[in-house]
Amino acid sequence: MSGSPDFKAITSTAELFAIVRLMEESSAERYRELAEAFEISCNNLETAEAFRALAEGEDRHAAEFPAPVGPLGALKPWGEEDPEIADPGAVHYLMYPWHAYDLALRHEQETLAIFTALADATTIPEVKAEALRLVEREKGHMDRMRELRDIQPIPPDDWDEDDDPPNWEASD
């Protein structure tokens, strides 16, 4: 379902900032949804707290960019899949905080790749300069995410084994 990035759609730094802010806001919203799901539906409070912390981090990242004035057009230069937004299909109800930060690290890596590709592809000098700054910024985010992940307890090998699984077999 993925579409190819359309880097030519970004014609100014203002558009780029608006897109990045939207990415960070959407990412915060998804992490907040996951935090609520882990708290309310799974009683997995540690992982819920990790996702909540990630959401607050994304809120701070979004605030680093100016809010666009006036309505935005259809800004979807990355195609249909936004690399910054956590894939809900990648979560598991038994996952640990370590997994939450590892998921966030993967998304930061994907975002770094997109900004790197933008810097390579754009022909607009101002956009290229900002894209390169965003690349450096994402590297910082990745370092921070790796630190946060690595201070978490490492999950046991059988972390996803459930003695009372949802789909129990007749022989259980």
Binding site: M1, E33, A37, G89, H92, Y93, P166, N167, E169
Partner: protein, 275 residues
């Protein structure tokens, strides 16, 4: 003075969903609220009606008029609402069990009747709320749960899009929760289209159908323009493997009710029953 505009978040309520982490319905909720915002709708001019099931909890999570109705009867309630209040945008939502089994007959006749509303079915091919029984869209050999008969039901899965076309639906599309922006566009187009618009959204249940995580790899954009020719649409749908996403059919039937909405005053109606 500019009119007030509403963002997607304005259409979300403060009630927190109780869906499982990773449930596709979160993304569908986001797609619905995004479509409402993109269409410039207002919460007090919009309504969400549902039946029973995991996905049918959605009216509680939207900040619009809403009705969490009874099992399989969401379409009856939604059609009644639209005919009584044609000024409202009516969106009916639910799951595959609610819509195609318990509500199967309502589904057929809602397609025929062609009231101007949008019906969204979040299809995960399982009854999730009741712990994993096969639904009408479940594969005939699925038996990964003790809730399913050994070897599966042996029944041919219901093909909701083909049945909707045969029954007279005026707009038919399929979305995927893993593509929330694309799904929002489809929902917006469905709402704009007159008559009964049916949107099946494949929404994985990763708790009871963990293998549906792979839908991210198997779902694809339909590789052709939607048709207005029902015969051509029928041919397409009969060869559809269930993984083609996009608008598949746009009909041009006139919506039911344009000439049937009661114009009499309530006092006149009262008078008819005076003894």
């Amino acid at each position: 003075m500019n009119a007030v505009t509403y963002a997607a978040k304005d259409f979300k309520s403060d009630v927190k969903p109780v869906w499982c982490p990773g449930c596709g319905d979160y993304a569908v909720l986001s797609s619905i609220t995004k479509a409402f915002a993109d269409l410039g709708l207002k919460p007090h001019e919009t309504s969400v009606v549902s039946g029973i099931g995991c996905s049918s909890r959605i009216p509680a999570y939207t900040n619009t008029y809403g009705f969490h109705s009874i099992h399989g009867r969401a379409l009856a309630v939604g059609q009644g609402l639209k005919l009584a209040r044609p000024d409202l945008t009516v969106l009916v939502a639910g799951g595959d069990g609610d819509g195609f089994s318990i509500g199967g007959n309502h589904f057929l006749h809602a397609c025929r009747r062609n009231v101007d509303l949008t019906y969204i079915v979040m299809d995960n091919r399982v009854y999730g709320m009741t712990k994993g029984q096969p639904s009408p869209t479940t594969e005939s050999d699925w038996d990964a749960s003790a809730m399913a008969p050994p070897g599966g039901t042996g029944m041919t899965p219901f093909h909701p899009l083909a049945i909707a076309l045969a029954a007279g639906a005026n707009f038919i599309a399929r979305g995927f929760s893993g593509d929330p922006n694309g799904t929002a566009e489809i929902i917006a187009e469905a709402i704009r289209h007159p008559g009964f618009s049916f949107v099946a959204i494949m929404s994985p249940c990763i708790t009871f159908r963990e293998e549906q995580r792979e839908w991210k790899e198997t779902m694809r954009k339909v590789g052709m323009e939607p048709t207005t020719d029902s015969a051509q649409a029928a041919r397409r749908l009969m060869t559809d493997d269930g993984y083609n996403c996009g608008v598949l059919y746009r009909g041009n039937r006139v919506s039911y009710g344009k000439d049937k909405i009661a114009s009499a005053a309530v006092s006149d109606l009262d008078a008819e029953f005076t003894l």
